[in-house]
Symmetry: C2
Subunit: 145 residues, 2 copies
């Protein structure tokens, strides 16, 4: 199941890197993130530009510049990140693509699919980047592979 686009996958991985390995200085360079994770520098830059526009990141140009979280990792929930990367309507889509599917005009799998999406949203809205960063730092989980 391809639930995230490449933008979503790379963006999330890169953000988690930033959270898991925060720099001593104020900003972490995109180059370090992309090199360390083996992702395309240009592609990550493009993704981060969007996250900066949306207010999730702040960026700073010039030597020792880079990007940083716009607010504490404790306050950034996965839900916000995924919506920023995939679009605000991410959890509103009908599984089989019926544009007016809803409780009034449910498609054959509407109820079940709604349950699944609710579970996802609920979990994502309670999972902070800080928590995941900590799990990465303690090597309970991994970001590379």
């Amino acid at each position: 199941m391809k639930a995230l686009s490449q933008v979503g996958k790379y963006g999330l991985r890169a953000l988690l890197y930033l959270v898991a390995y925060p720099p001593d200085s104020q900003y972490l360079s995109i180059r370090q993130i992309s090199d360390d994770l083996g992702l395309s520098f240009h592609f990550v830059t493009k993704i981060f530009r969007e996250l900066t526009e949306k207010g999730l990141l702040i960026s700073y140009r010039g030597p020792s510049g880079g990007i940083a979280l716009a607010k504490p990792a404790e306050e950034i929930m996965l839900l916000e990140v995924i919506k920023a990367l995939e679009g605000d309507d991410y959890f509103d889509k009908c599984l089989i693509g019926l544009p007016h599917c809803g409780s009034a005009k449910p498609c054959p799998v509407h109820e079940f699919w709604k349950e699944v999406k609710t579970k996802l949203q609920h979990n994502f809205s309670e999972t902070s980047l800080a928590l995941l960063g900590e799990k990465i730092r303690t090597q309970e989980v991994r970001l590379d592979d």
Copy 2:
């Protein structure tokens, strides 16, 4: 969340039409399905060709030809259909795309994502096309929109 490709969405909708509105004769023509659902005839034909190759459908050419289920709708579970349409590895993918993600090398969301996929697989493996077809016929749910 775009969980299914267009092939998956259209294929599932077309199959459900066949189950919900079985023809008096042995075969239902693709033209009728695509016209009724407002889908591209050629695209549905291509999708059905694949399902025929995979043994889910049988087809018959010539006048009063068309397609039919290869086995009773009671015996075809959603899981089988989705795997046929989207690939057998549909439920094996890491959310953030790490190729070796698994219990040995879990990504930061591995456990939760596994739960979600298990729930999906479980439900899909217990939902038959016959059940959904019946719900459509009784207008409890809808296929068009």
